[in-house]
Point group: C2
Chain length 298, copies 2
Amino acid sequence: MSYKLDYISRLLQRTSSKRIEHYVISRIWHLLDNYDLKMTPQQYVSRELSQYALTDVYFPQIGLHVEVNEPAHYESEDRINRDLKRQKQIEVNTGHQVFVIDCREDILGIHSQIDKLLSKINSEVKEQIENGIFKPWRPENEHNPNYWKNNGYINISDEVSFFTIEDICLLFDADYQKTKRGFLRKGAIANPKNINQLIWWPSEHPRSGWLNNFDEAVGTITETHSDEKRKSDHYYHHAQGTHIRICFFHYTDILGLTNYKYVGVFTNDKEKSNPEIGTVWKRIGDKLNLKTTEISEI
Amino acid sequence: MSYKLDYISRLLQRTSSKRIEHYVISRIWHLLDNYDLKMTPQQYVSRELSQYALTDVYFPQIGLHVEVNEPAHYESEDRINRDLKRQKQIEVNTGHQVFVIDCREDILGIHSQIDKLLSKINSEVKEQIENGIFKPWRPENEHNPNYWKNNGYINISDEVSFFTIEDICLLFDADYQKTKRGFLRKGAIANPKNINQLIWWPSEHPRSGWLNNFDEAVGTITETHSDEKRKSDHYYHHAQGTHIRICFFHYTDILGLTNYKYVGVFTNDKEKSNPEIGTVWKRIGDKLNLKTTEISEI
């Protein structure tokens, strides 16, 4: 079975508990009928930790989120306002668009909204192709460090994701052996091409007391520790100066595989960090030049 | 939410445990994109009781079954032969066609098979429309006894299905009050227009010891009783003469509603029945004229 069939059928299966959402998502996929377009759930953000729920589907190549709102979303003014606020926040913080499908309508109404979405997606893809900037979905490249090394830079929209820390090191010509220390593995290593940049692989799962909360809508990672003393020590250590981290967020993907996904370049947010919350890292760049180590700001 | 959206989204949800089958079925539905075509699981046959597993999807208007064979279906010669035998049996007994989708292929291969299926369905529908015999899917009519009364006849391919025994009686102008006897309800009533025909509503669920095994592929219903004496008494009672039963099979549909579905006209099969197995009823007609009580043979 091909990777794409495996991937997309698992993605559809994931949503099957929400009957109408599932119907809408499967319809979008089948009617788009474009093997070069990646459709992704925003799974590498932990729902439990994030202040905001995730969008239902995301098209990374065109920066478009789709929200499938089952009738329950419209049950109260409060819920409606929360949804709108969240949508606005995603758009402002990520520069992405959010397309909402209102499932209070009947089958014809829902199909008609999907048709509008498909037209939008298709015309944006067409425009990218005409401008020579469309990047077809190539799962075999996404996970290949040599491919990105040759490419010369990595960008959030490229969906760069590695299976191992060794592959991250390979991308930067960093010494993989130095990531090991006894039984524990270090959570980061300096970029050999720029010692002011730390290559970092935080996890959504707690590790030796460390906990990382990645809020993708806002573009922040909050680093805390279950031990108050260690949390505040860590905060004071990063309260001064400018720290830069190239971040590969660790999560388990839809196929059940461990992934370290490139989610951008971050710096310490001195305003938001404090000894109680911990150290807050805010995203300052989407794109990283692997040779010059230059960061392109959002 | 409209009935059709409710119906089809539940049908898709039902198959979601089998990932690839589910992918294929949702693709068929979305790419057909024809609200007038009913797609149905063969749910009113109990999987536990039937000797043969069911087809995955059935299109009653064109008499076409679709089998989605996940790779496991091809794991042994024995399994392959069983599948073929069963397919043949369905085709011979029902006069329907069976279209098999082989999921050992990759995503392009599976999509290409689905494309062939869609062409086939679309051309058969087009032909029916041109010949003026196409009957669009109208769930509101399926369940309405007055609609069928006006129609003058019922046919298996029409998907006639009632929510209550009262509605069955209404169709035949039978006296609903006579179906009651104390706390129990009778399982049948004579057709007022032809006392040689019994209107029968057997259930897939055991009732006071009675158990009915409906094998749709073969077109038989086996009537047994948990009590050996009652089973053999029942057999001897039907071993002589010709008994005719107009059958509405009782089951719970995809929306969780009780249904009595018209599954044809049956007669006692003297060869297959015996005191051990019980009374076997074989289908002898698909279509029943409600005024003349004439049965059209298969």
